[in-house]
């Protein structure tokens, strides 16, 4: 076999491995007495993929994570972990791929950070040397000798992340992981996630902080009323949602309101004038955006100080939650 053949075979095997999702849910439902929390959930996560789970409070994000972990048994549907069925009680081998950070964990106030992690390490059958490593990763090495009752919320969150990293997880389930972290903590946290992604760790993370997720997640799953009402990359979802851009400008040297109205009429767009700032605001459908911008810019000194605000995850989230579903 030539070197190039060997390389292409290696690529092929990598690709084959990559196509088996670490986690695959199909048609998963879970009811609580008097309430259907999850209705027919389909979700897949590939190795090295970061999927953000978003949705308002009480939409079933935590329940979904608990179903994946086997803490709740689904009423119907199938959960596959590494391609193997895991719908009822999880085997120890299936559990050992998880790293889980619950939404709130108080830990044990009388143990030190180091003792806490030693305890969790034994329970994950992990060596003590790994404890020091994860303490360093999450930036708790200095505080490891103090009791957990002296820790701030952010430090407890770091401790929670540290225990999730024990035992070489293949699938991290993080329930609102950046809660309580300061901005530099959030930055460090995503750096850690980035490294883990590169190592092939799949990550499912719930969060309310849309701005933070937008640039960092590979895919987004929006949970609403127990169903995933949107699933895909942030870019695709925004494009498919056909969300309007906001265009702002001031009057130009040759401003003429009749000319402007004619131009806007061509692009079926209406203007709002703000007396306070002496500026105009347009809400523009994406299909007209390019042509409208061209017209505005080519009209000689009709307008000035043009600003275009394209829709982001926040606008998408608000639209999806307002009931307009994307198919």
């Amino acid at each position: 076999m030539s070197l190039s053949q060997a390389a292409s075979n290696a690529d092929l095997s990598k690709e084959t491995e990559g196509t088996t999702p670490v986690l695959s849910l199909s048609n998963v439902s879970k009811n609580f007495p008097g309430k259907k929390v999850l209705k027919s959930i389909d979700l897949q996560i590939a190795p090295g993929e970061l999927v953000a789970l978003v949705g308002n409070n009480g939409q079933g994000k935590t329940t979904l994570m608990k179903v994946i972990l086997g803490l709740l048994i689904p009423d119907s549907g199938e959960v596959l972990i590494n391609g193997e069925s895991a719908t009822s009680n999880r085997s120890i081998a299936q559990k050992s791929i998880f790293g889980y950070l619950p939404e709130t964990t108080a830990f044990y106030p009388n143990l030190t950070g180091l003792e806490t992690l030693h305890y969790f390490a034994v329970l994950k059958q992990e060596g003590r040397s790994k404890v020091l490593e994860v303490l360093k990763i999450v930036g708790l090495a200095q505080a490891a000798q103090y009791r957990v009752k002296t820790y701030s919320k952010g430090m407890k969150q770091r401790l929670g992340l540290a225990q999730a990293l024990l035992g070489k997880p293949k699938l991290l389930l993080l329930d609102e992981p950046t809660n309580g972290l300061d901005p530099s903590g959030i930055h460090e946290f995503y750096q850690i996630l980035g490294r883990l992604k590169n190592e092939g760790v799949a990550i499912l993370m719930s969060s309310h902080l849309l701005a933070e997720i937008e640039s960092r997640s590979d895919a987004l799953a929006l949970l609403k009323d127990g169903v995933i009402s949107a699933n895909g990359t942030v870019e695709t979802l925004i494009r498919d949602a056909e969300l309007s851009s906001i265009i702002k400008f001031h009057k130009g040297a040759n401003f003429d309101v009749v000319r402007l109205d004619e131009l806007l009429q061509l692009h079926t767009t209406e203007k709002i004038y703000s007396e306070h700032t002496d500026s105009f605001v347009l809400t523009c459908h994406p299909s007209h955006k390019q042509a409208l911008l061209l017209s505005l810019l080519s009209a000689d000194a009709l307008i000035s100080n043009l600003i275009v605000n394209d829709p982001g995850l926040e606008e998408l989230f608000l639209q999806l939650n307002s009931g307009l579903e994307i198919t």
């Binding site: 608990k66 619950p102 939404e103 964990t105 009388n110």
Partner: protein
């Protein structure tokens, strides 16, 4: 197999360290020591001199002290055993860990056993030393310690069972006190009421059967059977009335194991 024991002992050890650090063992142990020392000195005071009869009455008083205090200690120690983990968020976390969740229950039980045993060793050592230094036997004190730890463990098991069944600390504290009232106070009153209302026309077998329904009654009978001498048993009017030792130990054992089995069954079913 090896890792199973490692996990079990890690959980037990954590439980013990937690109660050592929060001061439970020392504080409760010393409080118990003060009570038992008072009883020991009052016992000495009654007879004015050290004698066999005096040791017997001291031990009998201590058995009654244990009946009042140790079930309460067992209940208060364990009622939040699993519910506490649940409310802290660590129950779900540990259930997601790669080991059989039952080990969490068994490890807790073992750890709480160690806590209770240590507390009672702290509580009973001082009177035992005084008594043994006065020429009394070590054996009776050893038996008293073992049965006292055991009755505490029975209530650990009962409290852990409710801890898994209810998972809500605020309700569990009320349940713990209710269980103590039921077994330690109301049960005896009920039996006395039954005997009075029927003018004593209740078959002794039936009364004995009732005792099997109450672990503190079993403890009283077992301790009297194992510690008291014949004269004392006669004075108490129990000659020939105590069920066979093996039956008492068997019932005690069942009271220890069955609640843990029920807790385990429930723990396995969480999430269904």
């Amino acid at each position: 197999m090896m890792s199973t024991f490692t996990i079990l002992f890690a959980i037990a050890r954590k439980e013990f360290v937690d109660h050592l650090r929060n001061g439970w063992i020392v504080a409760v142990g010393l409080a118990f020591a003060i009570f038992s020392l008072l009883i020991t000195f009052v016992g000495f005071g009654f007879t004015g001199s050290v004698g066999v009869g005096q040791e017997q009455s001291t031990l009998f008083s201590l058995i009654n002290l244990v009946i009042y205090l140790v079930p309460l200690l067992g209940l208060l120690l364990s009622y939040d055993g699993i519910a506490g983990e649940y409310e802290r968020g660590t129950l779900d976390l540990l259930r997601s860990y790669p080991f059989n969740s039952l080990l969490l229950l068994y490890g807790k039980w073992l750890g709480l056993f160690m806590v209770l045993a240590s507390t009672l060793i702290v509580g009973l050592t001082a009177p035992a030393i005084i008594s043994i230094a006065s020429g009394h036997t070590l054996q009776a004190w050893t038996v008293l310690l073992v049965t006292s730890v055991w009755i505490g463990i029975v209530f650990n098991s009962i409290a852990l069972m409710f801890s898994v069944l209810i998972l809500e600390r605020s309700r569990l504290i009320a349940i713990a006190i209710g269980i103590w009232l039921l077994f330690v106070v109301l049960f005896d009153l009920g039996v006395i009421g039954l005997l009075v209302s029927t003018e004593g026309n209740v078959p002794m077998d039936m009364v004995n059967l009732l005792f099997y329904l109450n672990p503190t009654a079993l403890y009283r009978l077992l301790s009297i059977d194992l510690i008291m001498d014949q004269t004392m048993i006669q004075q108490l009017g129990l000659m020939g009335q105590i069920p066979p030792t093996a039956a008492l130990i068997g019932a005690f054992f069942a009271w220890t194991v069955v609640p843990v089995m029920i807790a385990g069954w429930r723990l396995r079913r969480l999430g269904k």
